[in-house]
Symmetry: C2
Subunit: 233 residues, 2 copies
């Protein structure tokens, strides 16, 4: 069984690669660096524009797979940046957010259209706050809203994905990543979603267990160290 993790070197990406490896999957990581725990790695060249990044990443993935199909394509790439209209860097940050979340999601969708098996799973990285306005993090909100809408498009008739496949958006509030611990050391960690919860959910969905309907946005909430999922659309 093969899965592909886009963003396999990030905080969540590493946890997801590790989880699927432990569960016996062959894992391909796509990222700007290599994840030594993955069975194979495809490197993204940040100097490429969107069209060439898609072309090069898709070709490299096809070269790795040599005709075998994927159970799941899981994109967990993306970062965070703030900024409102008064912030001189808000457009620069919006550009970065777009490249991290939307370029990766579009390329993951193309990979899924070519390499996912029938009935396979595609997961894209949304964010719960972007289901409404986010005045203090405008670029981040726009990028995540675009990903949310892409999930709905991919879940619709005529998206070009393999028959019976399922596209879901995961919308965390705050993930318990090393980076978030570093930058918010005094937060209440009991309300942060553990990476193991996310990875375990992704594995279940990959196995077609407890899968919401394709096109669903699934927000992840944690209270008193207990995590529950909620459909947003």
């Amino acid at each position: 069984m093969r899965v592909l993790v886009y963003g396999g070197c990030g905080g969540l990406g590493r946890a997801v690669v590790q989880h699927f490896k432990s569960a016996g999957y062959n894992v391909t990581s796509v990222d700007i660096g290599e994840n030594p725990e993955a069975d194979s790695n495809v490197k993204v060249n940040l100097a490429d524009d969107w069209v060439n990044q898609e072309k090069n990443v898709v070709q490299s993935v096809l070269d790795v797979l040599v005709g075998s199909k994927l159970e799941a394509v899981i994109n967990v790439a993306g970062g965070w940046a703030g900024g409102n209209t008064q912030d001189p860097d808000w457009v620069k940050n919006a550009d970065l957010m777009w490249k991290q979340s939307v370029w990766s999601s579009a390329i993951a969708a193309t990979i899924a259209s070519k390499c996912l098996k029938e009935g396979g799973l595609l997961v894209l990285p949304g964010a719960a706050p972007a289901t409404s306005g986010t005045p203090g993090m405008m670029g981040y909100g726009m990028a995540k809203a675009a990903v949310h809408q892409l999930v709905k498009s991919l879940g619709g008739q005529g998206s070009g994905l393999p028959d019976g496949s399922c596209t879901l958006g995961i919308l965390p509030v705050t993930l318990d990543t090393p980076m978030n611990r570093k930058f918010m050391p005094n937060a209440d960690f009991s309300t942060w979603t553990p990476l193991s919860e996310v990875a375990g959910t992704l594995e279940k969905w990959s196995k077609n267990l407890e899968r919401p309907a394709t096109g669903s946005l699934v927000s992840m909430h944690t209270q008193s160290n207990s995590t529950y999922l909620r459909l947003e659309n």
Copy 2:
């Protein structure tokens, strides 16, 4: 009274420039070309990246205004392109949609933060179909969904816009533009929204007449040559 029309050379843009000129406004057009009907023109350089396009357009607008403030910043830039995940050009089209609708909207937001008067109006170009999935026009849907979310952010507390200003998204279904007539010559034009209806609505909103709450998405529907507005959020 001054207004700025972003995309003043497009089908809708020309109609809006003309309407505000007839109503006695001083109109600045921002576009890749010049609109001779406008009082002043600011040209967008397509070779610029997003950050430089923002920097150069904002500086040129400041040079034109020399301290005077705008009643309204109206962005009607943007085009249309189709494509699902099987379309080899879908990412190329998504990139174009992003640049046309989202770059322009972000730059219009920065202009509004610097040049709009208190209680002024900012209008951004959404699209009714993008309020749900758009499998056959994936890049278009993502870009418009991002604009919709930006409208909500700009309507929220802390967006950095002047006090009392109002940000609205206009979400047409199909506009009765020369381009749409050319490419869909056999459509039922009685269901297309006339440009004069849109321009008239924009002028009313500019005068603070019949303005929906800031952050609203306003879809425009036409049946039997009669147009009505509906709040989408």
